[in-house]
Amino acid sequence: MRLRPGRIVAYVFLVALGLIGIAPFIYLAVLSTKKRIEITAQVPPTLNFNWAQITKNYNEVLFSQGMLSFTLNSLIIVAAATAIAVAIGVPAAYAFSRLKFRNSDSLASTILSMRFMPPIAVAIPLFLMIKTVGLQDTYPGLILPYVAFSLPLVIWIMIGFFDEVPRDIDEAAMIDGGSHFVILWSIMLPIVRPGILTAALFGALFIWNEFLVALYVVDSRSLQTISLGAATLVSAQRPIDWNIAAAVGVVTVIPILFFSLFVQRYIVRGLTAGAVK
């Protein structure tokens, strides 16, 4: 394993992996600089860039279609939903980990199983509820159901992290007379902070691209999320503007590229620290 030739092969493989991984995005980026007709007529696409065309495509996507504001909406909604899910989920996970009670394990499993329901089974009722309380077409109207979507996962991951913390730590505090709230707040939270980040990121991951509930709840263009914006790309009964679709792809990939390059190390580190349950 430590042999030099082996190491070189490994590096070659690493680079190849990176190239294969990035290739589809490069292709997407190249297509996004073209006229529609060039995409279907030039195979493979050439690399001569026409700035006027690029400006035009991206202008269309960012401003005319509003992808910029859709991205912002997604960020706001997912951040708020994740924050609430963490606020509610962390104490619950602590209770499952430290305050075992009758049936606590099966309750925890039941909560995780909420994560598994098909969106199609709940989208319509959720929409009707949101409408009844007058939150249709508002940020809270999407945030409320999204909290429910990420909560089970947040709780489940946090139980794992709390379980990892040695019991002596909180038992010592307990003897010192700390209540569970004090222990959770001032002793446990600092310890499990990487876990909270992990849980939040995983919670966010699965609502970032949610489509069905958003489709029901959001009416106005100004509140659309990324996945709603992307859905307008595909329609069977229209010529697809491949260049615009590619530009949408690039625009939606950029924020997550940043995320993926820099934040993934914390996910892995967080998951490693808490080990996966």
């Binding site: 401003f63 489709l215 029901y216 009416d219 106005s220 009964q237």
Partner: protein, 473 residues
């Protein structure tokens, strides 16, 4: 007109100005100078008070599948300065659009004052009584601009989306109006390559035999003799099969849903024959034709790889736009082929625009005013000129400037004037029936079953669905 532009802008708050500028910038590539050159307000009557609902905020739910929403975005600054109202546009793709529409129509109050509905859904949506009757607005000179001219709309489009007799549930009967043909109409025409046909000494085909013969003759390694929708796609049934079926004497349904004897004739000789025509074209079609839906056919034709096909006339936009097409100069159009003795005709497409009955009552009159603006002659002409979509007004088809620029309009008008409502669109199960047909026909084109088997399978499944839904005893 210029006064209007200049007078309008300073009153707008900064935010609106910037937004308008962005919109204008985005539209610039396609519409350079159009806003300045093409004065919509000039066309409007002088005495009519366009500003009486100034300040009202309206919302429209419309299709984002075609270019209508782009045209609207281009002209939005004009709308705002003409009427003083603001209009928020929501324009999803077809599936989400239908979902959102039903959701709003069935709610206690619709979030949208204007809703754009597909002609195929008129019976479902208008027939169920969800839309405001518009006759009183239409007849009131204070509400309707003098030059708006309802008679100018294409009669088949009006029959398909506007007029409905709710008591008997009959489309196109009576005189009650619930929606206006908008933002575009459409049917099917033949697109063919003039250069290739001329070189081979051929005339555009008038019969299906001629169509087939031309395909055989023009087929080369680079150019397919003919194409059609071969994929499991909405238009396989509604464009390619249905056109061949009715123009060879087929009658899709007998009886009526109300009479509970709504029986399909898919397995009739005409039905099997129409599908067989497509199967017979396979050797002269693009190699991947069984994967060709709407998008692939437009891509293939506009890159010069297809010699002829019948298609929705709405694709005139991309085909005749040199920006998106290599065959803009060499494409000709003609009516669809037909069996001798049959009128060349195809399916009636297009959209209607109505005001939901459950819209905010305080905004309905304003919504009507906006509706007349959106369906005005000037707007329709702008859409046709800029995006080459199918006009819904006869005046746009006959506009001398437009006809010179876009000769296809003549054929498009002829097709729109003879178009036939597909009878399955009279029941809510339309999309489901269509899906069944596309799946089985696609399988036949893939070679897993012959035309007769495919048609009998569709026939059997359709009868099942119709029975289950109570349209067939």
């Amino acid at each position: 007109m210029q006064d209007n532009d200049e007078g309008g802008s300073p009153k707008k708050p900064m935010g609106a100005n910037r937004r308008d500028m962005l919109r204008a910038m985005a539209a610039l590539g396609l519409t350079t100078g159009v806003l300045g050159r093409f004065g919509i307000s000039a066309a409007f009557g002088a005495d009519f008070d366009w500003k009486k609902y100034a300040g009202t905020k309206l919302s429209i739910l419309m299709t984002g599948d075609e270019n209508d929403h782009r045209a609207l975005a281009d002209l939005m600054p004009q709308f705002e300065s003409d009427t003083g109202m603001t209009l928020e546009v929501t324009s999803p793709a077809l599936g989400p659009l239908i979902e959102k529409t039903l959701q709003n129509l069935q709610a206690p109050q619709s979030s949208f004052e204007l809703i754009n509905y597909l002609g195929f859904l008129t019976t479902q949506q208008v027939g169920a009584g969800y839309y405001e009757e518009l006759n009183s607005y239409l007849e009131d000179p204070a509400q309707t601009p003098p030059d708006w001219d309802f008679a100018d709309f294409l009669p088949p489009a009006v029959a398909n989306v506007s007029i409905f007799d709710i008591p008997s549930g009959t489309l196109g009967k009576g005189d009650r109006i619930y929606g206006i043909p908008a933002l575009h109409s459409g049917s099917v025409i033949l697109f063919y390559r003039k250069d290739l046909f001329d070189a081979a000494g051929l005339q555009p085909p008038k019969t299906w035999e001629e169509f087939h013969d031309a395909a055989v003759k023009l087929h080369t390694g680079d150019v397919a003799g003919a194409s059609f929708i071969g994929a499991n796609d909405f238009s396989l049934a509604t464009v390619d099969w249905f056109t061949r079926f009715i123009t060879t004497g087929g009658k899709l349904m007998s009886g009526s849903p109300q009479g509970k004897d709504f029986k399909p004739n898919v397995d009739s000789p005409e039905g099997v024959g129409a599908l067989q025509m497509l199967i017979d074209l396979l050797p002269y079609a693009p190699a991947n034709v069984t994967k060709y839906g709407f998008a692939e056919n437009v891509d293939g034709f506009s890159t010069g790889k297809i010699a002829q096909m019948i298609f929705w006339s709405t694709i005139a936009g991309p085909i005749f736009n040199p920006e998106n097409s290599m065959v803009a100069e060499t494409t000709g159009t003609a009516p669809v082929p037909a069996k001798p003795g049959e009128v060349p005709r195809a399916i009636q497409g297009g959209w209607g625009l109505g005001i939901p009955k459950n819209a905010d009552p305080a905004k309905k009159a304003a919504a009507w005013l906006a509706l007349t603006w959106l369906t005005s002659k000037a707007f329709n002409k702008y859409e046709t000129e800029t995006y080459q979509i199918d006009a819904s007004r006869i005046s746009s088809y006959n506009d001398p400037d437009l006809v010179t620029k876009f000769p296809y309009l003549t054929d498009s008008l002829a097709a729109s004037s003879t178009a036939e409502v597909i009878p399955t669109s009279l029941i809510p199960e339309f999309f489901q029936l269509n899906d069944i047909m596309n799946v089985e026909f696609n399988a036949a084109l893939l070679g897993t079953q012959d035309a007769k088997t495919a048609c009998s399978k569709v026939q059997a499944q359709w009868e099942d669905v119709l029975r289950k839904a109570g349209h067939l005893a």
